[in-house]
Symmetry: C2
Subunit: 305 residues, 2 copies
């Protein structure tokens, strides 16, 4: 079942305690699409400049990702640079050049509009809404956001997420959005904003899935080495919706079975963990579905009692 992904495709400069890369493929839509591509056909809606390299097109196309919605316009591709703290729990943005992304007005190719699954990466809430509005008969829609939209574009954001089935954010964002420090109360408040399902990502500490009928928690995978956490949250999102899309779930007809949602959280966690093992998207150059399934089994083994 085909998935539409909207968000940024970018070049990133990243420095972690393990090294420094001045310019490499990045962006939320890139990570989401690469991650989801292991589970379901993916269509990308994004914009890049005329500096976007053929090898990066090839990487995405090589994963079977449909790029009809990847608009190419004169100018430079979105560029972001950041540096991580020694323990990698914090990062400082050094540079954000929106470039062609500043005027991004997502336009969906006709073939995308009838797809059943939609993942809205972290962009302006108005743009997320405009994409949602272009889709006909979408079955399952969800997305991500960040502190900037929560703080400075709150009304717009609330209007946007009210139309979503699920919201995927981190614990800091959940507290900010709800105004509650306690995660149980934060989740209750957020579920009242519209989405029937909430996933709170906690970085190295795992994730929590919330729905009115209960919650599910998974610890984070313990990596031997975290090389670069950039994109891990987006890879989580890609694994989460990718798995659900691959299963063909349909919340319109009935609630998604809890077991599917739980497995989607595990696949999200698996994909987020792989993302951190190399710089940028490098892990996806070699990652196989059998490695993914083996790590899923590891999650089973280290959480079962």
């Amino acid at each position: 079942m085909s998935l539409v992904v909207v968000g940024s495709v970018a070049y990133d400069g990243v420095e972690t305690p393990h090294g420094k890369v001045d310019r490499m493929l990045g962006g939320a839509a890139t990570y989401i699409a690469l991650s989801a591509s292991y589970f379901t056909p993916v269509n990308v809606v994004a914009v890049v400049g005329d500096d976007f390299a053929q090898e990066d097109v090839d990487l995405l196309a090589g994963r079977g990702i449909d790029l009809a919605g990847l608009e190419r316009v004169p100018g430079k591709t979105f560029f972001w640079a950041g540096v991580y703290s020694a323990d990698m729990n914090d990062r400082t943005t050094l540079r954000t050049d929106l470039n062609v992304f500043a005027d991004f007005q997502p336009k969906l190719p006709a073939a995308y509009k009838s797809q059943p699954y939609l993942l809205l990466g972290n962009i302006q809430p108005e743009l997320q809404r405009s994409v949602r509005a272009q889709m006909n008969g979408v079955r399952l829609v969800g997305g991500d956001t960040m502190n900037y939209w929560i703080n400075d574009h709150r009304e717009n954001l609330l209007k946007t997420i009210a139309e979503w089935d699920f919201l995927l954010i981190n614990d800091t964002e959940a507290r900010l959005l709800s105004g509650e420090n306690n995660l149980r109360r934060a989740a209750e408040k957020i579920l009242a904003m519209g989405p029937h399902t909430l996933v709170i990502k906690r970085g190295e500490y795992g994730a929590i899935l919330w729905r009115e009928d209960g919650h599910f928690m998974v610890p984070g995978y313990l990596l031997q080495e975290v090389f670069d956490p950039t994109g891990a949250g987006d890879c989580f999102a890609g694994g989460f919706i990718g798995y659900l899309a691959g299963q063909g779930v349909n919340p319109r007809n009935d609630q998604i079975p809890h077991k599917d949602l739980r497995r989607a959280v595990i696949y999200g966690s698996v994909m987020g963990s792989f993302c951190c093992e190399k710089f940028g998207v490098d892990r996806f150059r070699t990652l196989t579905r059998s490695e993914i399934d083996a790590r899923y089994q590891e999650f089973k083994n280290f959480t079962d009692f």
Copy 2:
């Protein structure tokens, strides 16, 4: 199967965002013993002053805890006071009056020496070792420690834990003890120090169990409200060894079954979570075994996939 617990019995002054208590029953041995008493008979070895109140004796005795090893000497009981930060992830010690605890030389009543299970609460490593040496034919021994002993009494501590079956510490202590920031590598190094089993407590983020043959992770229980986290780690320890003692496990004859260790981690987590629901030991005034088993089942429900 009977358990011997050694550690501090104290009075605590605690301030959290939910309130302030100037003086209430506390101390590692108190929390460990109360928690373990739901699973197995418990014998306490500790010292108190002549100010130790009858109602506090009654609380412990009321849980069936054997107090033959609770020495009473002239002077004041150990007093500790601390204040928690708004998010309760940090606490500042305001006062530590060792009082009669300064000269504590644990002497085990004859009946305690042949008990099969021993939990050494956080005290001087030499004292932990002297208690271990007084026991005959102990089957399973483990304990806790803290940054002070790791930093300033390292050789003594290493000599002490080399004789233990398991070590229960928090993530900061594990990093300090091993000199490794990565928890996988930290665990490998600590297991090479002697204990065959390591439990790393992560506060609200749960716990990790390590043994040479694999690891187990559990997320932390999401409380509606954390009133007072004092003693939660000790209650974890009490639930962990209490459950194993109740099962009669014997690592001398064969390795403890992984399923017993995993369940012990869950019972530890359950007891730590209850501890936080009221100030000091207050939750144990009403807690029942059926509430404990219901929460164990909750852990099953919110982690199963």
